[in-house]
Amino acid sequence: MKTQSAHAHEDRLLDFAYDELPLSEAQAVEQHVQGCSRCAETLQGIRGVRRSMARLPREEAPVEGLDSLLAYAEQSARRAAAGAEPAPRWWRRLMAPALSMAAVSVLGVVVLQVNEESVPTAVTQIAFKSQEGSARLVESPAPAPPAPAASAPAADSFAEADSSGMAVEDEERAPPSKSKYKSAPAMRTGVARGEARRERSKKMALREEPSAVGGAPSSPPAPAQTQAEVASAPPPPPAAAAPEPKWAASGGKAAASKEEMNALDDLAEGHAQRGSVSRPSPSPGELMRQADRALLAGERSQEVTFLRAALNAGPQGAQALTVFSRLCAAESALGRRRNALESCKRVVAMAPDSSEARSAHRLLERMLQAPEASPEP
């Protein structure tokens, strides 16, 4: 009945009626229809319906809205010609949220790091200053006392000495007589944050040299700016090249072990996790043993740093006297006149009849007799 039957052309009648057959096939179907009443009837039915339906006239499209449509098209064409708004690609639409998330994440990390760096505890600020002071004083021929602990009984006098001895810092920012306690709130301002970061960069740059030479624990390279500053500065004396302890960033607590030192070092450079801050602080005894090792190694500057850390740890009684006495000797040996004077006076004040007081007295006399090498800033 269908293609295989005698009416194989029946399926093509539709195409034939609508002139969609090639000429040869159309002729074959036409010949078949002439001899086939069934196909002829089907074809006649199709043509009859078409004739009836042809009575529907063609309607003209309304003109309403044509002007606005053309105006809209013209505007769109202008945009296309200008190419001002390229069609967003699918991958752009997908990437946009991911890039936004990445940008927010980076911003969050930066903010965290900045906050971590610029809002340290008061003790941390003092510790940074003391480190800075010791490093700068080594560079400077004029002796200057380092910064003491914040909460120690002798903190006030040391603070004054510290603020007056911050050679480079004073040049940049603070007046010589300005107390560090008064300047501590300022450290939280934007300007102070920038300065603090700059000074920390300098400090870290100073730590780079001993790390490279002495095989100290590896630390990330200092920023280029800091390296440039160090390069332009006069070469530091051997004492400045000694690896300084990296306890400052832990809130003034010295690190007892090498592992802690590394962790604190990472923190100071903004790469450490917050969890590493919560390590237990070493005791004054441990810090004094660190100072002993530094003394045996001939690193008096490092010894001073450990001794200051021991002061921060809160030594009691004879231990405090020993710390001040050793500070008196170490600062004097380093030529840090003001710091040495303060330490020695402290020893004399604490135990006037002790052997430490007598040694301090001798050092005081020696320092008072000796002329100042250069005016302190």
């Binding site: 539709l14 609508y18 078409r50 009836s52 339906m53 529907l56 006239p57 063609r58 064409a77 202008r78």
Partner: protein
């Protein structure tokens, strides 16, 4: 279309002049409602403008254009689904031409007029109703083929079905129309000139 996509607004004007009326007739006969057809026509051309950047040269413009129009017609029909095609036996609306009488009675009353032009004008509503009575998938195929002269292959692209399915629907549409026209007394042989629209 490529010229318009490149920023030539005049090219769009040419396209509109060429295709606006055929597209409108397709929409009008698909929807069977003039006001809706005008709305769909405007939507169709707006969508052409908006979709110009997505136009691919491998597609015929007419196929692409009628695909847009057809999809909008389908959407419109869904929205207006409450509108049922009026039955030939149901009373027509008060605004109708025949005072609410069934179409079969109207035709019997008028009879075969010697004025074929008048006869054609009188049977036109019947033809429209016969067309509107077709199922939507048959109606769209018939209209595209009969009134817009679109080959079955292109209709298959517009409607998204195979060419065989298109032809099958076309056969059903022709058979349905023939039966309905016979019921209405509309004889194709009485047509004025015996010609078809697109054929």
């Amino acid at each position: 279309m490529l010229a318009f996509r490149a920023g030539d607004a005049r090219a769009f004007s040419v396209l509109v002049r060429k295709h606006r009326t055929p597209v409108f007739n397709f929409i009008l006969r698909f929807t069977g409602h003039r006001a809706r057809a005008e709305d769909v026509l405007q939507e169709t051309w707006l969508k052409v403008v908006r979709s110009a950047p997505d136009y691919e040269t491998k597609a015929k413009f007419t196929t692409w254009l009628y695909t847009i129009a057809r999809n909008l017609c389908v959407d419109s029909a869904r929205k207006e689904s409450y509108r049922q095609t009026a039955s030939l036996d149901s009373p027509r609306g008060a605004a109708g031409e025949d005072d609410g009488r069934p179409l079969s009675e109207v035709l019997r009353d008028e009879g075969a007029s010697p004025d074929r032009g008048a006869y054609n004008a009188r049977v036109r509503p019947l033809i429209e109703r016969a067309l509107a009575a077709l199922p939507e998938e048959q109606r769209e195929v018939f209209v595209l083929r009969e009134y817009n002269g679109m080959p079955f292959k292109d209709i298959s692209e517009v409607t998204g079905v195979s060419e065989n399915t298109v032809k099958s629907r076309m056969r059903y549409a022709l058979e349905g129309l023939r039966r309905r026209l016979n019921e209405l007394g509309v004889d194709g042989d009485l047509a004025e000139d015996g010609r078809t629209v697109a054929g």
